[in-house]
């Protein structure tokens, strides 16, 4: 049995410690992991918990991230709770296995501390890795600060392991900005946290030797389509479980989460849509704009997959100008958020002005001033009713302005 850790009502944790504590409290059976900045401390904290007897599972320090996720898949298929952490290049190395994990319906939890992808090599935060993995068939939860990293990680187990879901879950947080920034975090006590997540219920366990199972078969055109359709269907339907778990968590902690994080959206005429720590900065910028009489709001995406299409339509239905903020090099087109928000708005029959801002690549600072500038642009567009700026602009970039379309 693992030792209990006595936690204060308020702990000062950075995002990595918050995630590591949630992993500890989930009493994971097997963690297979490989270090990479900025998620390394998760693995280190977890090892220390293990060394001090606070964890009763096994920790396999493998030889690569591909090995880490391979180990997670093998251990999960054997029938126990499994999790790991990674960032950036490590995430990229895992990619093959990320698809295999979701295709096999294994509820692995992966805490991703988001970071840029090389080249050029960069250890700082942007969302390139998050975007790379967005089609891997995982549930994607986003946290903006250490408290949320903790909360989302606990909930990730409960969501992924729900018998109606049985899918792996990623929990994202921003490299350094969240992972290395210490803040007040209100944790649950160990029993409470474990009680919330519940015991692991194996499904199709390889270790039930009287009932052999086959994982990861070959299918070609005759069945593959059906398998993928079923997987998609269950991922889409996981929304109801996500909402249910959010509600249970609110009852337990008073902390309320939803598919979208809405700030002053009720009467907003201009809105910034963003992911990660930028959401909180945008809230400050929105307040400043409100002082100037601009009805500014912020829409944070909390659940990136399954994508809250309808909820986004609803949240943005009265907004006249929207900034879709993409913190990833767009690679020859618009950013992902721009495209996906655009699709939602097109189907809603509303035609607000929609602009795409590419920002903060490789950890470039995004200031309140940048965000108020964006609101100013949106305000001008909202007033004139048309796009007054290029559709895609790079902000905070040195040298000549860069924009497209």
């Amino acid at each position: 049995m693992a030792e209990k850790m006595q936690l204060n009502e308020v702990e000062v944790w950075d995002g990595n410690m918050a995630a590591a504590q949630a992993l500890r409290q989930a009493q994971i059976d097997v963690v297979a992991a490989y270090p990479i900045t900025p998620s390394t401390p998760i693995v280190q904290n977890y090892s220390k918990f293990l060394a001090d007897g606070y964890v009763d599972g096994e920790f396999i320090m493998v030889e690569s991230e591909h090995g880490a996720m391979s180990g997670c898949v093998g251990a999960a298929a054997a029938g126990g709770r499994v999790a790991t952490a990674t960032s950036s290049q490590g995430f990229a190395l895992m990619i093959e296995v990320l698809y295999q994990a979701s295709g096999m319906r294994l509820p692995i939890v992966l805490t991703v501390v988001n970071r840029a992808l090389a080249a050029p090599l960069n250890v700082n935060g942007d969302h390139s890795d998050m975007y790379l993995g967005r089609d891997a068939g995982w549930i994607n939860l986003c946290s903006y600060n250490p408290q949320e990293a903790y909360d989302m990680t606990l909930m990730a187990f409960k969501i992924g392991e729900d018998l109606n879901v049985r899918l792996p879950v990623m929990v994202h947080q921003d490299g350094f900005l969240c992972s290395h920034t210490a803040q007040n975090v209100r944790p649950l006590q160990d029993e409470e946290a474990y009680g919330f997540i519940g015991e692991y219920k194996p499904v199709n366990s390889m270790l039930d030797v009287a009932n052999p199972v086959t994982h990861g078969v070959q299918t070609e055109e005759d069945w593959h389509f059906e398998h993928k359709a079923r997987q998609h269907n269950d991922l889409m339907n996981s929304v109801s479980t996500i909402k249910k778990v959010f509600a249970e968590f609110e009852k337990l902690t008073g902390r309320k989460y939803d598919l979208l994080h809405k700030y002053k959206m009720d009467d907003a005429e201009v809105a910034i849509v963003a992911l990660g720590t930028t959401v909180e900065s945008a809230e400050i910028a929105a307040d400043r704009m409100r002082e100037k009489g601009v009805k500014a709001g912020v829409l944070g995406i909390r659940v990136l997959r399954p994508f809250p299409f309808k909820e986004i339509q609803e949240a943005l239905k009265n907004v006249k100008a929207i900034a879709a903020m993409d913190r990833s090099a767009p690679g020859g087109t618009f950013g992902m958020l721009f495209n996906e928000i655009g699709a939602a708005m097109l189907q809603s029959g509303k035609t607000p002005v929609l602009l795409n801002y590419i920002y903060g690549l490789g950890g470039r600072d995004t200031t309140i001033a940048h965000l108020t500038d964006i609101y100013e642009q949106l305000d001008r567009c909202a007033k004139s009713g048309k796009s007054e700026y290029p559709l895609q602009q790079f902000i905070g970039l040195r040298g000549p302005k860069l924009s497209f379309y």
């Binding site: 059976d29 097997v30 297979a32 009763d56 599972g57 096994e58 396999i60 320090m61 493998v62 030889e63 690569s64 591909h66 090995g67 391979s70 180990g71 997670c72 898949v73 093998g74 251990a75 999960a76 298929a77 054997a78 029938g79 126990g80 499994v82 093959e96 296995v97 295999q100 096999m104 692991y200 194996p202 366990s205 390889m206 270790l207 039930d208 030797v209 009287a210 009932n211 052999p212 199972v213 086959t214 994982h215 990861g216 078969v217 070959q218 299918t219 070609e220 069945w223 398998h227």
Partner: protein, 332 residues
């Protein structure tokens, strides 16, 4: 509990956990070896298979040839998958959360065994890092390499197990080429040098020797590596009915020596002694030429301009055989 095996007939029908009537080519050695491994024990077995012929031919939804728990993830990671499943087994055992059927098996003295199968491509090449990692970490499982010296499933490309002079689709023999230019990698020694407690080379025709080694492997705690000659009718281009004969020629010519390496070590991995045993000694070592002549993948070597490669082969096999005997004698 080591299973007692009296004769081939009884052995071959003793434990139907793998359906031989699958999509593999007629005469494929992979099938024979898998049956031999599974029939060597009555214990529950959990299996991971790397991408390759064995995997694509035995678990095509909605069918499966496997009446044991089986997993396929990718081309590289069968070793990590099964090693991690074994870790989960240890954890759940400790926490008292194993399924009842497994608890019963343990009480009956039939602990589950964990086995990964990979082709030579999966083993010598793409999956080598994962395999090396698992062996270095000392996981308790058996890795069986079905060594057909070629990437068969993708149509016969060379691997680092392809021997010199073999014509493959990416090292074809032609007007100015005798085929593969490099010698085969010595996987058995490489795995033994990881400090694995038990490493052995086997061939399906010498089934008693094979079964004995598999049983020894199952009794060993820690990582076990088995390198199995797996004649491939399609890529070695011999007739399906000649599979066992070709294997026999491989063993009798000492191209494919049967031996084992035992590293005695403590739980920290300190190796106290290394012992190499040759487990089969041909009465009359036949010329390598006979082995090569039985396989059209080497047909071009018999042209006058390529004859020197046959000589090279013979030299290589003789040196290796000599070295094995020296090592056996010296007890290292």
């Amino acid at each position: 509990m080591t299973k007692k095996i009296r004769n081939l007939k009884e052995f071959s029908t003793s434990n139907d956990r793998y359906e031989g009537a699958n999509l593999m080519c007629p005469g494929c050695s992979h099938n024979i070896i898998v049956r031999e491994v599974l029939n060597a024990t009555d214990n529950p077995v959990l299996i991971a298979t790397a991408t390759g012929c064995l995997e694509v031919c035995t678990a095509v939804y909605p069918y499966t040839s496997w009446d044991v728990s089986w997993i396929h993830i990718g081309f590289e990671n069968a070793s990590t998958a099964i090693a991690s499943a074994q870790v989960m087994y240890e954890v759940l055992k400790r926490k008292g959360r194993l399924p009842e059927s497994t608890m019963r098996a343990i009480e009956e003295g039939r602990e589950p065994k964990f086995v990964a199968f990979g082709g030579d491509g999966a083993t010598y090449d793409i999956g080598f890092q994962w395999l090396s990692g698992c062996f270095e970490r000392g996981h308790d499982f058996m890795y069986v390499c079905l060594d057909n010296e070629v990437y068969a499933n993708t149509g016969g490309q060379r691997s680092s197990s392809t021997p010199i002079g073999a014509s493959t689709t990416t090292s074809p023999a032609g007007n100015v080429s005798y085929g593969e230019k490099m010698m085969k990698k010595s996987m058995v020694e490489i795995m033994a040098d990881h400090g694995a407690p038990y490493v052995a080379q086997v061939a399906p025709n010498k089934w008693k020797d094979l079964v004995k080694k598999i049983q020894k492997g199952f009794e060993t705690k820690g990582p076990v590596y088995i390198n199995a000659m797996s004649a491939c009718t399609t890529e070695w281009k011999h007739a399906p009915e000649n599979t066992i004969d070709v294997s026999e020629l491989g063993v009798e010519s000492c191209v494919w020596p049967l031996y084992e390496i035992i590293n005695e070590r403590d739980e920290h991995g300190i190796i106290y002694s290394t012992k190499l045993n040759i487990t089969y000694r041909p009465k009359n070592k036949i010329p390598v030429e006979e082995y090569l002549a039985a396989q059209p993948r080497f047909k071009h070597l018999f042209k006058p301009e390529n004859r020197h490669i046959i000589d090279l082969w013979q030299k290589m096999v003789d040196i290796r055989w000599e070295n094995l005997q020296k090592r056996e004698e010296a007890g290292v």
